[in-house]
C-alpha cells in the first residue's frame, strides 16, 4: 500500500489543521470545500462542492481511500449510501448519528448506563412545561440537530418563558430535547481516539472554559480534578467510542458535578477533532489531528503523553483587529513561547479565527502560561501593533 489519500468533507479550520499532520506523515489530503474561500483551501488540495448533494459526495469519495469529516452535517442517509457502495466512511453513519442527533445521544448514554442529566423528548410547549414542572426550572431546550457554539440551545426559566418557544416546535424536527439545567462547577472535556481495529487512545481530561457558549480557554489536564472523576470520565468516553463504534477522534463534553453520582454528566459529543483538543497540537506527543489521521487510516495510535505539566489553549475570535498579521509582531515579541495558530479566515465579530497554545513546563508555570495565552490572544484579537510594525 502506498501513501493513502484521506478525503475530508468540509473545509473549516479542522480540515485545515489536518494538513500539517498529513504532510509530516507523507499522507495525501483532499478537501471537499464549501467554497474557494474557506479555511482549508489555502492549506490543502481541494474541490469545491456541496456536501448535501449525494452525487457530489459519491464523485469525491471515488477519488479517496478513506472519507472523514470537518463537521457532522452530512445527511446520515447519504453516509449510509456511501458506506453501502463500499466507501470507507470514518466515522461511519452508525456511529456518527449519535453526534448528529442529541436525542439519540441521550438515549444511548442511558442505555450504556453513562451519567446523563434528566432529559426527555418533547414535541410541544405543553410537554416542555410538564417537564419543567416535574423536574424543576430552569431547563434547557435543544434542537436535536444542527446546533453548535450555543446555537440551537435555549435556557427556559419559567412556564412563561416556555410559552415563548412556540416557534421552536415549528422547526422540522419530530421532537426536541429538553434537559434539566445542571448546576455544575465547571465544564470538562474528554478526548479519545479509536481505530477500526479497536484500539483506543485516551488523552487527559481537560478543563474547558466557555464564554458566551463558545470554547474559550482549555487547560490540559484539568487542574485539581479528582483522579477518580478523571478516570471515570475517561472510562465513559472510552466506552462511548467502543460501543458506538467511533472511528477517529471523539470529544465528550462534560459537566463537572462534585458530590453527585460519579461527579460528572455528559453534555455533548463530537466525532472529529474538537476545539477542546487543540492543546494537544503543541502539548502532547501526538496531536489530535495526527491522531485522527492515524485512526481513520487504521494505523496504530500515537502516544497521548503531555509534553509539560499543563498546556493552556486560548481561542481568539474576530474582534477589533481586521488584519491579524499586523499584530503578530507585537504578539511574538511579547510572548516568544506562545504557539500561534491562524486559520486563514476573514475576520468577523465572534468568529473563531485562531488559537494560542502555551506549555507550562511545571505546575508552577500554569498561571504564567495562562497569562501568556490570554495576552497573545488579546493582542491579535484587538490589534494594537507595535510602533515599528508598520514597516
Amino acid at each position: 500500500m502506498t501513501f493513502p489519500l484521506v478525503g475530508v468533507v468540509g473545509g473549516g479550520q479542522l480540515a485545515r489543521m489536518l494538513a500539517p499532520a498529513a504532510i509530516e506523515l507523507g499522507i495525501h489530503l483532499h478537501v471537499l470545500a464549501e467554497s474557494e474561500d474557506v479555511s482549508a483551501t489555502s492549506a490543502a488540495r481541494y474541490t469545491v462542492g456541496d456536501y448535501r448533494d449525494l452525487d457530489t459526495l459519491m464523485r469525491f469519495a471515488a477519488t479517496v481511500d478513506v472519507l472523514t469529516f470537518d463537521h457532522e452535517h452530512v445527511p446520515t442517509e447519504h453516509l449510509r449510501t456511501l458506506e453501502d457502495s463500499g466507501v470507507a466512511v470514518r466515522p461511519g453513519p452508525e456511529a456518527l448519528q449519535y453526534a448528529q442527533d442529541k436525542l439519540k445521544m441521550r438515549s444511548i448514554a442511558d442505555e450504556l448506563g453513562l451519567p446523563n442529566p434528566v432529559w426527555a423528548a418533547v414535541d410541544s410547549v405543553e410537554a416542555l412545561v410538564s417537564f419543567g414542572e416535574e423536574h424543576g426550572w430552569p431547563v434547557v431546550l435543544k434542537t436535536p440537530r444542527g446546533g453548535y457554539d450555543g446555537k440551537g440551545v435555549r435556557v427556559v426559566r419559567t412556564p412563561e418563558e416556555a410559552a415563548e418557544t412556540t416557534e421552536w416546535f415549528e422547526l422540522d424536527f419530530p421532537a426536541l430535547l429538553v434537559e434539566q439545567l445542571v448546576p455544575f462547577s465547571r465544564e470538562l472535556s474528554a478526548q479519545v481516539a479509536r481505530r477500526p481495529s479497536g484500539e483506543v487512545a485516551i488523552y487527559p481530561i481537560v478543563e474547558s472554559l466557555q464564554t458566551d457558549s463558545v470554547c474559550d480557554v482549555v487547560t490540559a489536564p484539568a487542574p485539581g480534578l479528582d483522579p477518580e472523576v478523571a478516570a471515570a470520565a475517561a472510562e465513559a468516553a472510552s466506552t462511548l467510542a467502543e460501543r458506538l463504534g467511533v472511528v477517529g477522534m471523539l470529544a465528550v463534553e462534560l459537566f463537572e458535578t462534585p458530590g453527585t453520582g460519579p461527579g460528572f454528566l455528559i453534555n455533548e459529543l463530537a466525532m472529529r477533532p474538537h476545539n477542546s483538543g487543540h492543546w494537544s497540537m503543541d502539548g502532547a506527543v501526538t496531536g489530535q489531528f495526527e491522531q485522527h489521521l492515524r485512526a481513520v487510516l487504521d494505523l496504530p495510535l500515537g502516544s497521548t503523553q503531555p509534553l509539560g505539566a499543563y498546556t493552556v489553549m486560548k481561542n481568539y475570535l474576530g474582534g477589533a483587529n481586521q488584519d491579524l498579521y499586523s499584530a503578530f509582531d507585537r504578539a511574538m515579541s511579547e510572548y516568544p513561547s506562545a504557539k500561534i495558530h491562524a486559520y486563514g479566515k476573514s475576520v468577523r465579530p465572534g468568529r473563531k479565527v485562531g488559537h494560542i497554545n502555551v506549555i507550562a513546563a511545571t505546575e508552577q508555570d500554569l498561571n504564567q502560561a495562562r497569562a501568556i495565552a490570554e495576552g497573545a490572544a488579546s493582542v491579535i484579537r484587538d490589534g494594537v501593533p507595535s510602533a515599528d510594525s508598520a514597516r
Copy 2:
C-alpha cells in the same frame, strides 16, 4: 499588512517541511520546484522552473513578498540581480556566498577570529603536496562549491594519493580548499536564527553522528558537552550570523576537539533549515522551520526552549523497503512515541526519505529514546511489515 507569501526556491524536503509551519501561522507558501515530483510539491503550492535561469527567478520573485531557499545552489550573481531589483532575498547574496563558497567561509572565519582548521587555497597537485608536507598528512581536499553529504570532499593521505587528484584541479574552480584532517572526538552542530532587525535566537548545541558522511543521528543537546565549549560554539554561530548578515536559520557544523584551543573547530555552514536541526520540529517550543519563516519575514523569533531533557533525531535513508507506508503499521505499533516524518520522495538507496524524532523527558530516558528512534527508522527503512498490514 495581510498574511504574506513566502517564496521558496527549491522543492526538496526542507521546502516541504516549511509548509506545516506556514499553515499553522496562516502564512502562504509558494515553491519554485525543479519538477512535478520533488518532495515539496505534494505539500505546498508550486511552480515548476529552473532556479539557474534568471528570468524564471525574476518571474517567480515578482509573485512573492519574500524569497528564501531550500538549498544554496542559486548562482550568486542571480541573487544580486534579484536584490538590486528590489526583491527581499533572505538570506541575501552577501551572506549566502559564505555558505556557497567554502574558501570564502574559511577566510571570513579567520577574519572574525573564529576557530578554523589549518587550511589553504590550492590550485595544483603541487600546492596540495606542499600543504601536506608542511602541515602533515592526511589532508582533506574540497571543492569550494556544490558539495554536500560527502560529495565534493576527498581525504588525501599521502603525496602518492595527492597525485591522483589531477582531475579535481581540472574542475571549473580557480582554486580548491585543502584543510588538515582534524582529529576530532565527535561532530557538533550549532543552529541559530537571525532576523533582518538583528535579533538572534540560539538553539542548544547538538551532537551530530555522521554515517558515510551523511547526517544520521542527532542528539539535542549534545550529551556531556563541556558548558564552556557549548557557550563558545553558540557564541561563534551567533557571531557568524551577525557579522555575515545572515537572515533565517544558520547551521554551523563543528568538530569537537577537546583540549585544543576553544575545544571546537568550524567545519561547514548552511544558511537554511538543516538536517542537524530537525530535532527541533518536535523537541523545541519553536521548530527550525517556523523559526526560519519568522526570521525571513522579520517577525520576532520564537522560544528555542527544549521540550524534554533530550530529543533524538534519526534519519532513514532509502533501503530494502520501497513501500515506506507499508511499514508504518509496525513502526507505529512498536514505537507509539516516535514522531515519524516522511518526505514524499521515491525510495532510492541511500537517499534521505524521512526521519524520526523521539523526546526523552528525563536524562534517564535518553538511551530508550535512541533505541526507539533507531528501531522505528530501521523498521521503515527495511520494511518488515506486521502480519496484518497486508490488508
